[in-house]
């Protein structure tokens, strides 16, 4: 099956980064709770205590699958808390590396009847958190049964690593991981890939779909909206290609190897790193030090978590680290200038003709204003939903309308593209989370 997504956001930023791989050796690790939606942590190992690979660091009160497992031999360095003692980051230090773990079943004996033992393997290895669930965009709950599992073998985010190369290099592991995933649902496993990638899978409930299109065609919200729109009675899980590879490694090699390939982008400079999950990103920058002139983002410029000293660790779900210049000067009558360096999806700047000088910085590029639907949303939207009406119902808090129009398909990241193009500079990611929480509290 093939699907071509039209529209989308074609940012003039590099994609498919493919450079030499540098391995990051750091002893500093940290779990930033902001990456996990509505996590309610229960600390198992406290500050200063020793930890070994495979130990449970902390868990979630409501989701037994959400367990954070140590990947180092070392100790818990510091637990940062914010207002009302809310956990912000969990720092630990020590020597990381792959370690042996024997799964309950070998790959050949896997089937749906021993699903719960299989889940235990994944939870105890710390790999379970790579499955996420929609509606509501949380870590998958092992007590739920998904209708479908979406396996995404693409990444159209700016500065994303060359995913096809990573997949081809680890094809055996990927296939093994997909086999594991296929045991977790009674429904279909949908594989979304580029059509030039050849994957040979012969499993009864696996369906391969070739996708083409720019950002955000690799985001799960776009795919859900197209292939399996959600309501309160439906549920899907989704997982990213590098996580599938890790699961494959566990079953093929019987090792827990939580290394990932992480791309790094700063304007025209790009690199690829091999780094362990949750590792510090301080070692990524040769010259740039953390200062007021730049913003370091665990993620991509279009969607990611801004880091500071306490949270300078990888984003669990986005395989990219990026750096962005902070805006410092107020340009004189910028709204009147030809705009050689400004980018817009609309043809309103000279930069549409001479795109060489486009730069991005952290400027809002305007002031906060009411929603003015001049068609920017439709221009970038890949969704079937009447997008202006969906966005309007989200910002006005019209739960009923939002739900009818498919708000349950989405997570915060899916709103990034609409936040980007908004003329009134409205942050739809914030409103989306709010409305999802409200709908969930109704159920």
């Amino acid at each position: 099956m093939m699907m071509e997504f039209k529209n989308g956001l074609k940012l003039p930023l590099p994609k498919n980064i493919d450079t030499d791989l540098t391995e990051i050796r750091t002893e500093s690790f940290g779990i930033v709770t902001g990456d996990f939606v509505s996590l309610k942590p229960t600390i198992v190992i406290n500050e200063g205590e020793k930890i070994r690979k495979g130990d449970i660091l902390f868990t979630d009160k409501y989701n037994r699958g959400l367990k954070f497992i140590s990947n180092v031999d070392g100790y818990v360095k510091k637990i940062y808390r914010g207002e009302k003692r809310r956990l912000i980051a969990y720092h630990y230090e020590g020597e990381s590396g792959p370690y042996h773990m024997k799964p309950n079943f070998s790959l050949n004996r896997l089937d749906k009847n021993n699903r719960s033992l299989l889940m235990d393997d994944l939870i105890n290895s710390g790999l379970w958190i790579s499955f996420r669930e929609r509606p509501f965009d949380r870590v998958a709950n092992p007590d739920h049964l998904p209708d479908k599992i979406f396996v995404i073998l693409r990444d159209t985010r700016p500065y994303a690593p060359n995913y096809n190369k990573i997949i081809v290099d680890n094809l055996n592991y990927l296939l093994a991981g997909i086999k594991v995933g296929s045991c977790l649902t009674d429904g279909e496993v949908l594989i979304f890939k580029d059509n030039n990638l050849y994957v040979d899978i012969d499993l009864p409930n696996v369906k391969i779909i070739d996708i083409s299109g720019s950002y955000p065609s690799s985001l799960v919200g776009t795919l859900i909206n197209q292939f399996y729109p959600l309501n309160r009675n439906r549920r899907i899980w989704y997982i990213d290609y590098q996580d599938v590879i890790m699961i494959g490694k566990l079953y093929l090699d019987e090792v827990v190897d939580r290394k990932k390939i992480i791309s790094y982008g700063y304007e025209k400079e790009q690199k690829l790193y091999l780094a362990c999950e949750f590792s510090s990103i301080k070692g990524y920058f040769d010259e740039i030090i953390y200062n007021e002139d730049v913003r370091i983002i665990a993620g991509t410029p279009i969607y990611g978590r801004r880091v500071d000293d306490e949270t300078m660790f990888l984003n669990r779900y986005i395989n990219t680290v990026s750096v962005l210049k902070e805006v410092k000067e107020r340009s004189f009558m910028g709204w009147l200038m030809p705009g050689l360096s400004r980018y817009s999806v609309k043809n309103v700047f000279i930069s549409k003709i001479y795109p060489n000088k486009i730069t991005f910085n952290t400027s809002l590029n305007g002031s906060y204003r009411p929603m003015l639907p001049i068609g920017s949303y439709e221009k970038v939207s890949m969704l079937n939903t009447p997008i202006t009406y969906l966005l309007r119902s989200i910002i006005t808090g019209d739960l009923e309308m939002a739900e009818k129009l498919g708000v349950l398909d989405f997570g915060e990241e899916d709103m990034a593209v609409f936040t980007f193009v908004s003329v009134g500079k409205i942050d739809y990611t914030v409103y989306l989370r709010k409305i999802l929480d409200e709908i969930e509290s109704e159920i």
Partner: protein, 397 residues
Amino acid sequence: MRKFFDKLAPYFHKGGRFERFFPIFEMVDTFLYDPLIKTEGKVHIRDGLDLKRTMIIVFFAILPTAIFGIYNVGYQANSAIFSTGIKPDGVRELIFNYLGFSHNPTDLFANFMYGLIFFLPLYLVTLVVGGFWEVLFAVVRRHEVAEAFLVTSLLYPLILPPDVPLWQAAVALSIGLVFGKEVFGGTGKNFVNPALFSRAILFFSYPQAITGNEVWVALDGYSKATPLSAFNEKGVEFGYTFIDGVLGLIPGSIGETSALLCLLGAIILVITGIGSWRVMIGMFLGMGITTLIFNIVGSDTNNMFNMPFYYHFVFGGFMFGLAFMITDPVSSSMTNGGKLVYGLLVGFMNAIVRVVNPAFPEGTMLAILFGNIFAPFIDSFFVNAYIKKRSRLYEGN
């Protein structure tokens, strides 16, 4: 200058002495320099287009029509004065004479200057009255002044006849702005186009100011019909050609006479992506098809039935409405399909009002207002269609 504003800023921010007037300070400050607002949250880069830029592009798209309109007001008046010998009097005449111009319709500058003497007071009144309401609501409601007024204030005088009494224009604008826009929450929340709504208020409150044959040329005691009313009365021998309509040296509302320059504005809006080509095409087709049907049907009693359908595109306010009025994104339909239907409906209504209603041979304004009211209704068909389609997908399990 930057330093001066930075020094002033603390007085207007929270806790400052003039905190209440922050919207005014913000307006002036961000007019001169781009605001220094950094992105927060998880989306770190933003599109370069903001409301200021959007509105300035619309402003520039309208500008050629406005400049030509000013010239045409002077040209029409000077021609009338030249041919009839009526001597205008009043303050305007004094200023005109003081500046050393004479009523010579072949003198470009004299035409432009005489037009300016009529347009400028109207524009200033619009700016002052409209600006007053806009800022008042911004200060009381504690939100920032939205730039959309920049466009409304230019559009409003352009859709008025040159001779309209200033106080009537001001009263209508006040009612139109407050009840058409501000009470609903201001820019982005109005359901009708505020400039058109104000004009409708003027039309119903002071019909003598905006109808009849007296008002279209800026000369008291001189009456000349607009091409549309002329056609209504006389039929094909109405005294104008298609080219006259395209170029626009004809009597009419200040900005709407030149179809060519309106088309230029429409092209600017379509290329920049700020105006929707869907509503424009819709309106064009709606008008064209309906009037073509009227042409085919024909009528012995109503001349308008026999006006060739392509004449409808170039006479009256059709082109101006198509370029600048119907494209107002807030009061238009918002789904892609809805935009097309909305355009068709407005075009169709426009033709109906023009042709079938012999008392009022112009209908763009009413048609668009009518469309504004139906816009959400049109959208609801498309939105509901999606909701239905979606719920069918759920039925599988």
